[in-house]
């Protein structure tokens, strides 16, 4: 598959993050293309959440560069972030507000009629009719879906989800998978999904990167990485990391 530079909506080059004297992320690079679901796979502590925090401007990289839809994140924060929606770790909303008030709150941060999209987004994530309950009373799955609706308010090119299947039951996981596939397929969104469980994202991703101890070790489609399916991804992972399983 030939990929032109114009297809890349998010690129990370040589990202590193040091906390004190400990380097948590050492060398993470990848490019995210329009309309694909990209899996970011690695064991707990590999540096997935730290990488995501750098991608969305919460943490300043010690090294490396992030470009989102042509905008350098450090130099053009607002322009870059307008093209991104994200849920980092848990979907923390204002618990004392209703789902609708939360969405209105974040719509006001965007201006330009984002509030007009609330109802259609609620329908998209199957939350229509339940938006007027206080978030405190929502299940994790409901919060996750309001969180995704919130992430889509700015009509972004990239959706970043950090371990979105964590804590969901099998039905919830299936629903999440279908939603992610639909967003990538119908809306042309690039979706970045991190996970430490290969089995939970295997069926939703187009390409994956394997990250271990703060480094991206391999990137490619599942077919490429498994030699056309001749060997399992588990084996590849064991080979790359020397023992730890995904």
């Amino acid at each position: 598959m030939v990929v032109s530079a114009a297809d890349v909506v998010l690129s990370a080059e040589g990202l590193a993050k040091r906390y004190g004297d400990r380097e948590v992320v050492s060398d993470v690079s990848f490019a995210l293309r329009r309309g694909e679901v990209f899996g970011f796979l690695g064991p707990n502590g590999a540096g997935k959440t730290t990488t995501i925090r750098m991608l969305v401007g919460l943490v300043k990289p010690s090294r490396g560069r992030i470009v989102i839809d042509g905008h350098d994140l450090r130099q053009e924060f607002e322009a870059a972030m307008r093209r991104v929606g994200c849920i980092v770790e848990t979907p923390d909303l204002y618990k004392f507000l209703t789902g609708r008030e939360n969405l209105e709150h974040f719509a006001r941060m965007l201006g330009d009629g984002a509030a007009g999209r609330i109802d259609s987004l609620a329908a998209l994530v199957h939350m229509d009719g339940r938006l007027d309950g206080v978030v405190r009373t929502y299940s994790l799955g409901m919060r996750q879906r309001v969180g995704i609706a919130q992430a889509l308010l700015s009509d972004p090119a990239v959706l970043i989800l950090d371990e979105p299947t964590n804590g969901l039951d099998p039905a919830g996981i299936r629903e999440m998978r279908e939603l992610v596939r639909r967003l990538a397929g119908e809306q042309g969104l690039a979706v970045f999904v991190s996970s430490h469980l290969l089995s939970e994202v295997e069926k939703m991703v187009d390409r994956i990167a394997i990250v271990h101890r703060g480094r991206t070790l391999a990137t490619g489609t599942l077919v490429e990485l498994t030699d056309g399916g001749r060997r399992g991804l588990e084996d590849l992972f064991l080979e790359l990391t020397g023992g730890e399983t995904v």
């Binding site: 906390y19 730290t50 925090r53 969305v56 401007g57 919460l58 943490v59 300043k60 924060f77 607002e78 322009a79 870059a80 972030m81 307008r82 991104v84 994200c86 980092v88 770790e89 848990t90 923390d92 909303l93 204002y94 618990k95 004392f96 507000l97 008030e101 709150h105 974040f106 006001r108 941060m109 965007l110 201006g111 919130q150 700015s154």
Partner: protein
């Protein structure tokens, strides 16, 4: 900036829905009821115990009591200064044939500006101000707030504006509650009553009572100035509270630190009268309405202008530190 209006609306919505501000109003009303009730009882008791005495005799007695106490050797120096000031003021009122103790709703309201800006109003501001930023960290919502296409300084600016709005609301509420509640007991009218202002104590332990600057202003004018100064003090407290709210990730830590500082500072300015470094501390400078009225300052050499500048410096430094910290810090977990 159309987005800024939306950001401020968001912050106001969150303050109101967290219900802390309602607590502030309830506490304010309850305390005022209590104080007015107590003052009313005191006034009634005095009338019952000394029905025969007219106000001149009472003021005369109070002034000479104060002078006698101020002559005692073991009295702390700043108490002596206050006593000499108060007796001088009372005697001047007598000489003008004005009753300094005439208690009306408006007089109560004027006095409350000074009393309230020392501890009560700052504490109430700490109650709703301490969680402006720290609660976003504590509840995890900071992640969403800072991953929207809005620069961090704008997010914090909207919180500063909301802090100022609600500080102003607190002061307005305090004014109208003080007048409304005290009026029930002492009457709501009397805004035109003459007030004598500008008494001054000379320097040192033996400094004389200086009457050259004394002037007469209508009470409403004095009250307006006093509440304006109380508002200024309150904004300084709000700015410092906001800094603590940025520093601490827990609401309790931010609120507790601010409250301990306010209470500790108040004690300090009462007891540490010979360490005059304390005059640079913001808490010492909070009672601007009292300094404006001419009441002796806790430390010699402090003036109204000095205190205004000290508070301004504290507020500006706090806001600058808050912006630096908030826009630079890594948001982890």
């Amino acid at each position: 900036m159309p987005v800024m209006a939306g950001l401020v609306e968001n912050e106001c919505l969150k303050i109101l829905r967290r219900k802390r501000f309602r607590l502030v109003l309830v506490v304010l009303a309850a305390l005022l009821c209590l104080v007015v009730f107590a003052q009313n009882r005191q006034q009634q008791n005095q009338r019952r115990d000394h029905p025969e005495r007219d106000w001149r005799a009472q003021v005369e007695k109070r002034a000479s009591d104060l002078e006698r106490q101020a002559g005692q050797r073991r009295m702390p120096e700043n108490w002596k200064r206050w006593m000499r000031y108060e007796s001088g003021r009372l005697r001047y009122y007598l000489s003008k044939n004005l009753n300094p103790n005439e208690l009306t709703g408006p007089v109560f309201t004027r006095t409350f500006a000074g009393v309230g800006s020392v501890l009560l109003i700052p504490l109430l501001i700490a109650v709703f101000g301490a969680d402006l930023v720290s609660s976003e960290f504590a509840e995890g919502t900071i992640t969403l707030l800072l991953t929207r296409p809005v620069a961090r300084w704008k997010v914090l600016l909207s919180k500063v504006v909301a802090m100022m709005l609600f500080t102003t609301l607190t002061l307005l509420a305090a004014f109208f509650l003080a007048w409304g509640i005290s009026g029930v007991a002492f009457g709501w009218s009397g805004w035109g009553a003459p007030m004598l202002m500008g008494f001054r104590l000379g320097p040192g332990a033996a400094g004389g009572f200086d009457l050259t600057g004394v002037r007469m202003v209508p009470l409403w004018q004095d009250t307006f100035a006093a509440w304006g100064l109380a508002w200024f003090s309150a904004l300084a407290v709000g700015s410092i509270t906001l800094l603590l709210s940025v520093v601490f990730r827990s609401v309790a830590a931010a609120m507790g630190t601010m409250m301990a500082t306010l209470v500790g500072g108040t004690i300090l300015s009462r007891v540490a009268s010979d360490w005059d470094g304390a005059k640079w501390f913001f808490v010492t400078n909070l009672p601007l309405p009292d300094f404006y009225a001419g009441l002796p300052t806790p430390f010699e050499g402090m003036t109204l202008a000095f205190s205004v500048w000290v508070l301004l410096a504290w507020a500006a430094a706090s806001l600058a530190a808050a912006f630096l910290l908030f826009t630079r810090r890594d948001v982890t977990a």
